[in-house]
């Protein structure tokens, strides 16, 4: 499995906002995997090219590797973490024949021959021109990319069957009930009900399943997470590590360290890390017209083609009790939601339109909250975390000012 993989962000990565404001595109989870996890199945040397403001934080979680001898597979960081790509990419990497393949507007993957000189340094702005300028032979391979944030939700159903099989195989989980696979330290209440007819349910190490919970596979629960009593988790749910999940959850991604502990419906949604959804928080994932959902991406309206789409919530955002989020709404980073959320919410906003107020959430408040949350989970708030929050606050300032209803500053 020797070889080099370089995960690179490109200039389209910002279209995945708010998810990619605070994390590299390769660190977005879908169906239990991130692309960086998939890359490690491909080669022993994985390095990456990310935006400048993410470099330090990325290095905390992903120590940057070095590119060694031999061919280099450049993989767009926005390629979906689909383990079905692994055999084909491995084959191409081993063959060592240069190629380039695209996905929509972007370079999806390219293989550079062993005798290559990489520009130093490489930045997201110059990887794509560099690869295109190499005149590599075009190859008709399909590697789907996440171009917009809702693509993560859209891809869940397609990625889940293979990804969850790989999870079981890779970790050697034991089948504790028909179709239910568990790692070490998993606790399952006797009253829990599992339906694995449509796909397995995988419970990673130290997961706790409390009483009267209901599962319909495929479902993946990350290590150290807890599924609260009376909750219903069904049909393509991917929960990261160290999460608490309650209520009804369907076809959604919850990144690590987030809580949705109480009753309320979450469907066809993506929830970032360090998010807390208050009791009774629910989202709609279906329009009353049963039509497809259109979302706002920056200044443009994008047709998702999805009949079911809930909400996208960036890292560090919170919702108060009984918050109701309308279909297809996109919530930024470190925002606070209250009442009805009938429109997109920029980052760093206190959104309480139902009560007549949309105000800016200060950076200081966001940092204090971050520290309090980190402390509860024994995570150190580093200088890099603080710097990233400040950088994202500045990067999203313009978005707050041009939002349909800008916050009162």
């Amino acid at each position: 499995m020797r070889g080099n993989v370089v995960l690179f962000e490109d200039h389209y990565v910002d279209d995945m906002r708010p998810i990619t404001l605070t994390r590299p595109a390769f660190a977005v989870t879908c169906a239990g995997y991130r692309l960086c996890d998939v890359a490690r199945l491909l080669a022993d040397r994985v390095s990456y090219v990310v935006r400048e403001h993410l470099r330090k934080v990325a290095a905390q979680s992903f120590p940057p590797g070095e590119v060694g001898e031999g061919p280099v597979l450049f993989l767009n960081a926005a390629v979906a973490p689909d383990v079905r790509y692994v055999p084909r990419l491995r084959e191409l990497l081993q063959a060592g024949e240069p190629f380039l393949c695209t996905s929509g507007q972007r370079v999806a993957a390219a293989l550079l021959p062993a005798e290559r000189t990489l520009p130093d340094p490489l930045t997201p702005a110059d990887v794509t021109p560099y690869l295109l300028g190499m005149n590599l032979p075009l190859r008709d391979e399909t590697f789907r990319t996440f171009d917009y944030c809702f693509h993560v939700v859209d891809a869940l159903k397609g990625l889940f069957p293979a990804n969850i099989r790989m999870k079981i195989e890779e970790n050697g989980y034991e089948e504790v009930q028909p179709g239910v696979y568990a790692g070490s330290g998993v606790q399952i209440a006797d009253t829990a009900v599992f339906h694995a007819e449509e796909g397995p349910i995988v419970l990673s190490e130290n997961v706790r399943i409390l009483d009267f919970t209901y599962f319909e596979g495929p479902v993946f629960i990350g290590p150290d997470s807890r599924i609260i009593e009376r909750s219903s988790v069904k049909e393509c749910v991917s929960v990261g590590h160290t999460c608490k999940v309650g209520g009804e959850v369907e076809a959604s991604v919850i990144e690590p360290y987030s809580n949705k502990q109480h009753h309320g419906f979450l469907g066809h949604s993506y929830i970032g890390s360090w998010v807390n959804l208050g009791a009774g928080t629910s989202n709609s994932d279906l329009k009353n017209t049963y039509g497809t959902v259109r979302v706002n991406i920056g200044q443009k309206k994008v047709e998702t083609g999805m009949q079911f789409l809930g909400c996208i919530i960036g890292d560090y955002s919170k919702s108060a009790i009984n918050t109701s989020i309308f279909t297809g709404k996109i919530i930024g980073v470190a925002s606070m939601l209250y009442g009805y959320v009938g429109q997109d919410v920029p980052s760093f906003c206190n959104y309480a339109k139902s009560f007549g107020q949309i105000t800016e959430c200060t950076l200081e408040q966001a940092l204090i909250t971050q520290k309090r949350m980190f402390t509860r989970r024994d995570v150190e708030q580093t200088e890099a975390d603080i710097a990233l929050m400040g950088e994202v606050f500045e990067r999203t300032r313009e978005g707050r000012s041009i939002a349909s209803e800008p916050p009162v500053l």
Partner: protein, 609 residues
């Protein structure tokens, strides 16, 4: 239409005037004339027919006191192409001579007024009024420049005009309104012409006059002014091409030379414009913001450029998904066109001087459209008036039947479609495939030219036929029109280009054994449908000349004659498939004894409406 050349300086003489005028003969060649200033007199020589047909004015040769002169080759608009109507025209005294390119629309009224003043007219032309108007001013005591400018103010229509006066030796007056005039700044000599091609033998430093500008030329230089005599500032520009570019270079005709130049001219059209690093085309002459706000395109052109425009419609709609309309420029202007917000007008003209296209651009801009030009001649009026656009860099095209400009225009339209397409979501892979394919075109054009022998053989067999049909679908439908036009232009054979599916709606009635049909079948995507149309023709006894994609066996099996072109993606087919059509028209014309470079009744740049 019409070519003007003027010279003032130490080398003045009839040979110099005639030699350089020959380079403008493509603009019109039904009569010609020169007027030399010799001392304090003017010597005039005018002839019907072509400049190259001989009958040089020997009596003017070697006049030591010759200081300069003006010359003209004519494409008749007002008055028959005979000696009497040939330029230069003189006033009643015979001491003032005028050459003119364009149309004076109010010439009849001016003529009546002048007649009442006692002026006598010798010709039927609109031009002659200019001479008499200036004469009238001089008679009233005005100086030459004032009389000249005052006369211009009375003219309605278009003109590029040159004037000499026996009493002002060493001076030529010129002006421009709607018809090009280029001043050449030589060493101790000054020149003027309708096209820089006539200047390049003596100087490459030129100044393009703008509409409403006039200039006084002397051997020491020139002064420009507007019609109120206020001086204007001009910048001397450098012509990029050289003399060999406007000579035949060993070919029997300019047209054949230009057909064979296409591998180079195609390369010139995309050189520096393929931005593979970004998977798009780079069109530096157009503001990206202009293209980002495009909601629809409206192409204006005439003749062969209109056919390129039709190809452009398919390209812009298929590749860039921009709704596109193509109009004959002259029809557009007078049809009360609807210009919706976000409309981009694309004016296509080889010369950049086509009067109808220029008028269409002006009309469109008045109605709020943004306009860009796709021109060959650098600094031409359309290029300058649009302010934004793309040059095709094909070099001077002298052959009246356009060849290399057509393929250059299509390459530029391809680049434009890719550029806009990428802005509107064209997949990167598709763009890269087209860009790579564009870069292979010069080599494939070489391969396409290798069919010359086959085409000549076919031409010899069919040269006696009085009628031809050309059929094609999608990208090859405009080629069918272009192939038919080429044949009409230079061989005088009646030919029709028809969308292949339309054949059965009427034109198939023309099919009989003596009627050859040129079937354009080099596209892969639509070949099955074309084969059906071919079967329909064969069933009625028609003979088929097929243009087939290399490697295709089905179409050749149904045809009497087959010419193959290299296989390319369908949107690029027009670039290569047009080459055999050009050669077919050329060889048929030569076989029929036609003057390929100067077909009857035609002129290169149509600068009258």
């Amino acid at each position: 239409m019409c070519g003007i050349f003027g010279y003032v300086g130490p080398h003045a003489g009839v040979e110099l005037l005639v030699e350089n005028l020959k380079r403008l003969e493509y603009r019109g060649y039904d009569s010609w004339g020169v007027c030399l200033g010799v001392g304090g007199a003017l010597e005039l020589h005018r002839r019907a027919g072509r400049l190259s047909s001989g009958d040089m004015p020997e009596q003017l040769r070697g006049a030591d006191t010759c200081w300069g002169g003006i010359a003209h080759t004519r494409w008749a608009t007002h008055g028959a192409p005979n000696q009497r109507n040939a330029h230069p025209h003189v006033d009643c005294t015979g001491r003032l001579a005028v050459v003119h390119n364009g149309i004076i629309e109010n010439h009849a009224a001016l003529r009546e007024t002048l007649k009442q003043e006692g002026h006598c007219f010798e010709s039927e032309t609109d031009t002659e009024v200019i001479a008499h108007l200036i004469e009238e001013g001089l008679r009233e005591g005005a100086d030459l420049r004032s009389a000249f400018l005052d006369a211009l103010k009375l003219l309605e229509g278009t003109y590029g005009v040159g004037v000499v006066l026996a009493d002002r030796p060493g001076l030529i007056l010129v002006a421009r309104h709607g018809s090009p005039m280029v001043i050449g700044a030589g060493r101790g000599e000054t020149l003027v012409a309708s096209d820089p091609a006539a200047l390049v033998a003596r100087t490459r430093d030129v100044v393009y006059l703008d509409d409403g500008e006039a200039a006084l030329l002397s051997a020491d230089g020139f002064e420009t002014c507007d019609l109120t005599a206020a001086p204007t500032n001009k910048v001397i520009e450098r012509i990029k091409f050289d003399l060999p570019a406007i000579e035949k270079g060993g070919y029997p005709h300019f047209m054949l030379k230009e057909i064979f130049e296409q591998p180079d001219t195609i390369r010139n059209a995309f050189r520096g414009r393929v931005l593979r690093e970004e998977g798009t085309a780079k069109l530096g002459g157009i503001e990206p913001s202009l293209l980002r706000r495009v909601r629809r395109c409206h192409i204006l052109a005439c003749g062969t450029s209109w056919h390129a425009g039709l190809v452009g419609k398919y390209l812009l709609e298929n590749l860039a998904r921009v709704p596109t309309q193509v109009s004959y420029a002259a029809e557009f202007r007078y049809a009360s066109p609807v210009i919706e917000p976000g409309t981009l007008v694309i004016a296509i003209s080889q010369s950049g001087e086509t009067a109808d296209t220029l008028a269409g651009v002006r009309e469109a801009r008045l109605r709020g459209a943004d306009a860009i030009g796709i021109c060959n001649v650098v600094g031409s009026t359309i290029a300058r008036e649009c302010g934004q656009g793309v040059y095709i860099h094909a070099g001077p095209e002298i052959g009246v039947a356009s060849t290399k400009a057509f393929t250059g225009q299509i390459v530029v339209l391809l680049l434009l479609a890719i550029h806009i397409g990428r802005m509107r979501g064209m997949p990167l892979r598709e763009a890269l495939r087209y860009l790579d394919a564009i870069e292979r075109l010069p080599q494939q054009a070489e391969q396409a030219l290798a069919c010359n022998g086959d085409v000549k053989r076919v031409a010899l067999e069919y040269a006696d036929r009085p009628n031809f049909l050309y059929i094609g679908r999608l990208y090859e439908y405009p080629l069918a029109l272009e192939g038919a036009l080429k044949l009409k232009e230079i061989s005088y054979i009646h030919a029709e280009g028809i969308p292949a599916a339309e054949l059965k709606h009427g034109p198939i009635a023309l099919v009989e054994p003596r009627m050859p049909t040129v079937v354009l079948g080099a596209q892969e995507g639509i070949l099955d449908k074309m084969l059906s149309n071919v079967q329909e023709i064969r069933a009625r006894g028609g003979s088929i000349i097929a243009l087939a994609r290399e490697g295709d066996r089905r179409l050749p099996e149904l045809a009497e004659q087959t010419i193959t072109v290299p296989a390319v993606a369908d949107p690029l087919v027009p670039v290569l498939a047009t080459i055999p059509l050009q050669l077919l028209a050329y060889h048929i014309a030569v076989e029929r004894g036609c003057d390929v470079d100067k077909p009857r009744n035609l002129a290169k740049s149509v600068t009258v409406e």
